[in-house]
């Protein structure tokens, strides 16, 4: 073995010290992560219990009011038929709410079962956004909210894009719903849809109660409502944003959140533009998928 000079020896020692420090800091990081997971596991039991009582509220309450009001309608005397308009609006709102809740519950179940292959087709982005906003019209009127909607860089050529229509609807609708839910009365919601050669950006900004820094990281967790009291004025059971995030990831996109307490929150959804040629896989014929034979291996 060749002899080390003092200098080399010191160098080697220094190197090992640095490596050790690095390993130590990584270990600390992992321990921190573990602690976090531990806390979450403890919480999960409590959340489950909560979830059941929430579901009861979310499903049974709208159903009972639909049943009650429709019975009223059927028993209305002839001279009071004008009341039907009001009643039917209430029924519609309750049924819409119920529909959204059920859609989310099934979407979450599908995601958790690993049964969410995207189904791409050409869709008209402007139309889709407008339709989804239209769905919330009565909610907007109820809270006296104004929507500022802006499409940027959209042309007749680029407003049809490849995406998964039903998933995009659920993403947009859940984030918008969240914005409406946490907006203050008489405020506004800014919706800006931008398009470039490589991506679609959807900004949904509200001026409501906002989210604290610590809470931003947990709003995408399932069953997470920042206000956990049963009688909270806000309905829903904290599935919406976790579904939106899972679907955005599935479409290779991202969601960014910026928020300040009492100033509101801005959600930016970015989705890549998909070229038809790159739509690998969904309709691939086996021969195209494989292979220039020599490099193929069988296991």
């Amino acid at each position: 073995m060749s002899k080390l000079t003092d200098k080399e020896l010191i160098q080697e020692l220094e190197n090992r010290l640095i490596e050790n420090e690095k390993a130590l800091s990584e270990l600390q990081k992992i321990t921190e992560e573990l602690k976090e997971v531990n806390v979450k596991l403890e919480e999960s039991e409590a959340i489950k219990t909560h979830f059941l009582s929430h579901i009861r509220n979310e499903i049974i309450n709208p159903l009972s009011s639909i049943i009650g009001i429709s019975k009223n309608i059927s028993q209305l005397p002839k001279d009071k038929l004008y009341k039907i308009i009001n009643f039917s609006e209430i029924i519609h709102n309750e049924a819409f709410e119920l529909d959204q809740q059920l859609r989310n519950i099934f979407a979450a179940a599908e995601i958790e079962a690993g049964d969410t292959n995207p189904d791409f087709s050409f869709i008209n982005i402007e139309e889709l956004i407008n339709e989804e906003i239209e769905n919330y019209q009565s909610k907007l009127i109820e809270k006296k909210l104004k929507i500022e909607l802006k499409f940027e860089n959209f042309t007749a050529q680029n407003n049809r894009q490849l995406s998964d229509e039903s998933k995009l609807r659920i993403i947009f609708s859940n984030v918008l719903r969240n914005a409406i839910k946490f907006s203050k009365e008489y405020s506004k919601i800014i919706i800006k849809i931008g398009i470039s050669n490589s991506e679609i950006n959807i900004l949904i900004q509200d001026f409501g109660i906002g989210i604290s820094k610590e809470n931003i990281s947990i709003i995408f967790d399932r069953f997470k409502k920042l206000d956990n009291s049963i009688n909270s004025i806000n309905r829903g059971h904290g599935l919406g944003l976790s579904i939106a995030l899972a679907y955005v990831n599935l479409l290779n996109g991202t969601i960014k959140v910026e928020s300040e307490i009492e100033k509101g929150a801005a959600f930016t959804i970015t989705l890549p533009i998909i070229q038809k040629e790159n739509l690998e896989g969904t309709n691939v014929i086996l021969d195209e998928f494989l292979f220039d034979d020599e490099t193929e291996e069988i296991f």
């Binding site: 976090e36 995601i111 958790e112 079962a113 690993g114 896989g281 998928f289 292979f291």
Partner: protein, 160 residues
């Protein structure tokens, strides 16, 4: 079906697919891992495709995470009548396609490790595997024969 051509199914990340009919399940792997489980007796098989090793309580408990994806795959096969002690597994992927600095972020290796650990726990033998390394992989798994064709790819087109 009249012809005997197997159905082709492209598996996206965070999903899993099981089938009683003969199906060629295709997928593309970078640092992701796919576990194929097959029963030679009933000739039923399935595959998952997960991106991260462990679910940490964030977001939904989906098969994006190895510990959930492997458990779900086994459950789904059991629902189709496959007995656990007939199951055989093959594990693919977990390449380090992106250069990383820190040891704790070698996602590919950790993805592969969780598969071997969990399958060992479930006592499902891993009869072949091809994991880690620097390259991405395309694989085709035939659910009837249990055969897997594998092809290396250089660039992964952003697939994880």
């Amino acid at each position: 079906m009249l012809n005997n051509e197997p159905i082709s199914y492209f598996l996206f990340p965070s999903n899993l697919h099981v089938s009683k009919e003969e199906t060629n399940i295709l997928t593309i792997l970078g640092s992701c891992v796919a576990v194929c489980i097959w029963d030679p007796i009933t000739q039923i098989g399935g595959m998952n495709h997960y991106m991260l090793p462990l679910w940490n309580g964030k977001g939904l408990a989906s098969p994006k995470y190895g510990n959930i994806a492997i458990k779900r795959l086994i459950e789904r096969l059991e629902n189709l009548g496959v007995k656990k002690n007939n199951m055989q597994a093959k594990v693919f992927g977990g390449g380090e396609v992106l250069e990383t600095e820190s040891n704790s972020f070698i996602i590919g290796k950790r993805n592969a490790m969780i598969a071997f650990e969990m399958l060992d726990e479930y006592k499902i033998p891993v009869i072949s595997s091809n994991t880690e390394g620097k390259l991405g992989r395309k694989i085709i798994f035939n659910t009837k024969t249990g055969k897997v064709k594998l092809h290396y790819i250089n660039q992964t087109n952003g697939k994880k």
